[in-house]
């Protein structure tokens, strides 16, 4: 048969040098790039603010911001605001996690929980939490409750679905092995599924902690008498852009601290995965 067919050939090609898409840099280069990532924008800001191109009220210089921040810190306002905001994220995000983790765990393991909960949560998570602010104020007033509720609404649905995903990653084979070894469902949930999914659950928490931190500030911009968001609206009233900048930097640094803490925790818990 083969002799009846001519063998198709492709034109001769000269091999071309190709490179892998993913590239790596040395540790030293990585640190230099990390430093540049922060210092270059800072330098640009500094240059722009002293150049006289932009009015001081719109763009204060770094030293002015530093002084404004120091003032607020010394007056005791800033520490009190930081504590107020942290208290809210602790309560709101904590509550959201307490709801999301068991719910997600159920969705990832129980056959009926998935089809029952996935559609409704899938819809709810796309309703912007901020749009609930007026409703929340009508329902529970302008006190702490509405701020905590906003935080919970903002992250609980995403966190539930992401937890469910992490739980579903547990290989079926591992569940079978556990059953053959005589472990009942409770033991498998606590001793197999939970440890296996924990790094993924912490990843979900880290992503959602960032969202929660955003929602705290949003909640405080609307109706509050304390907190970093509230301090921003105050500063706006008196056109104190230097203070707004200082508060933004504090917000960023706290967010970064939360992120790093959860990252370290994740690395510790997930050591076996590496």
């Amino acid at each position: 048969m083969t002799d009846l067919m001519t063998r198709p050939e492709i034109p001769a090609v000269t091999p071309r040098r190709v490179k892998l898409l993913k590239t790596e840099v040395s540790r030293r280069t990585a640190w230099i790039l990390r430093a540049a990532s922060v210092l270059v924008p800072l330098a640009a800001w500094w240059a722009l603010s002293v150049s006289g191109l932009v009015e001081d009220t719109f763009l204060p210089s770094p030293p002015e911001v530093w002084t404004a921040g120091l003032e607020m810190a010394e007056s005791g306002d800033l520490p009190a605001d930081v504590l107020a905001s942290l208290g809210r994220i602790g309560a709101g995000f904590g509550l959201a996690v307490l709801i999301a983790v068991p719910l997600g765990f159920a969705m990832g393991t129980l056959g009926w929980a998935q089809p029952l909960l996935e559609p409704v949560i899938g819809i709810l998570r796309y309703l912007p939490a901020s749009a609930f602010i007026p409703l929340l104020i009508i329902w529970v007033g302008i006190g702490e409750a509405s701020k905590i509720a906003l935080l919970v609404l903002g992250v609980v649905f995403f966190n539930t679905l992401m937890t469910a995903d992490a739980v579903r990653q547990v290989p079926t084979r591992l569940l079978e092995v556990s059953a053959i070894l005589g472990a009942g469902r409770g033991r498998v949930a606590a001793r197999v599924v939970f440890p296996y999914a924990l790094p993924g659950i912490l990843d979900a928490m880290r992503v959602n902690a960032a969202a929660a931190w955003n929602f705290v500030v949003v909640a405080e911009l609307i109706a509050a008498t304390s907190g970093l968001g509230y301090r921003i609206t105050r500063a706006q009233r008196f056109l104190q852009t230097d203070r707004i900048f200082a508060i933004l930097i504090v917000i960023g640094l706290i967010g970064l601290t939360i992120d790093i803490t959860l990252r370290l925790l994740r690395a510790r818990v997930g050591r076996w995965a590496t």
């Binding site: 079978e176 053959i180 070894l181 001793r191 296996y196």
Partner: protein
């Protein structure tokens, strides 16, 4: 029924799609302590057979009996190991082996003794406190087998346990599983697609046909015990291996002709 010991399959069939049995009319008696190997083409239902014995799946027709008692679900009276070791990656080697004993509620001191003995038996005492990720494939498979044996199962089910190992490690593991079997005295049902392995290890080789899977041959292997590497080079062994290979090939050809 109460006086029946060993593993027994009575008219077992299993369908995943109604009307299309993967296994059909399986009748099988395995006396306690026997080492049985099962060969057959891929897709002939070897894994399904083990799952039915393990209780991970229920037969569509027929029954699986262990010492006269019907198998209704998975349980620690049967141990199982798969091609992938499927260890708990966050648990140390010793704690992997201990998992079944914990589930059984065995007191800590007894547990520790039993785990130490098993690790000694599989030659991994040095690695007791190491995470499985640090071990080689062969070592992981040893842990997996030790874990399966921890609760003193009456039957050890092995689904192509050495299929992913390199040739040298595989040979070591074959001698190892034989040694373990002699020390522990449990029944072993081992699935493999490697005829050489099946004949070398089994006291009895079952050849599974395809579509539907049936036991087409039940061959008693009369090779000297213990099975050593010399046995493997003997004329008897080579002749038997050729015979089983021919049977498997004939099954395969017949199956090809039907589809």
């Amino acid at each position: 029924m109460g006086d029946v010991t060993g593993l027994r399959l009575e008219g077992v069939a299993r369908e995943y799609v109604p009307g299309q049995p993967v296994l059909d009319g399986i009748d099988l008696d395995i006396p306690p302590g026997e080492f049985v190997t099962v060969v057959g083409a891929s897709g002939s239902g070897k894994s399904t057979l083990l799952c039915l014995i393990a209780g991970l799946a229920r037969p569509t027709r027929g029954r699986v009996l262990l010492d006269g008692q019907e198998v209704l679900g998975p349980g620690p009276d049967r141990g199982m190991a798969f091609q992938t070791a499927s260890l708990y990656p966050w648990r140390s080697v010793a704690r992997n082996v201990a998992f079944g004993l914990e589930a059984l509620g065995v007191p800590k001191a007894v547990r520790a003794e039993r785990v130490a003995w098993l690790l000694e038996e599989v030659g991994l005492s040095r690695y007791a406190s190491v995470l499985p990720g640090r071990l080689s494939g062969g070592q992981q498979q040893r842990v997996s087998i030790a874990r399966a044996l921890a609760c003193q199962p009456r039957v050890l089910l092995l689904d192509e346990p050495f299929g992913a190992l390199d040739v040298q490690t595989k040979e070591d593991m074959q001698l190892f599983i034989r040694q373990i079997w002699q020390d522990v005295g449990t029944t072993v049902v081992m699935v493999t697609h490697d005829v050489e392995e099946a004949v070398f290890l089994g006291q009895r080789v079952l050849v599974l046909s395809s579509d539907p899977g049936r036991i087409s041959q039940d061959i008693t292997v009369d090779l000297p015990e213990p099975r050593t590497l010399e046995v493997r080079r003997s004329a008897e062994f080579l002749a038997l291996r050729a015979r089983v290979e021919d049977l498997v090939r004939a099954e395969h050809r017949a199956h090809q002709a039907r589809v």
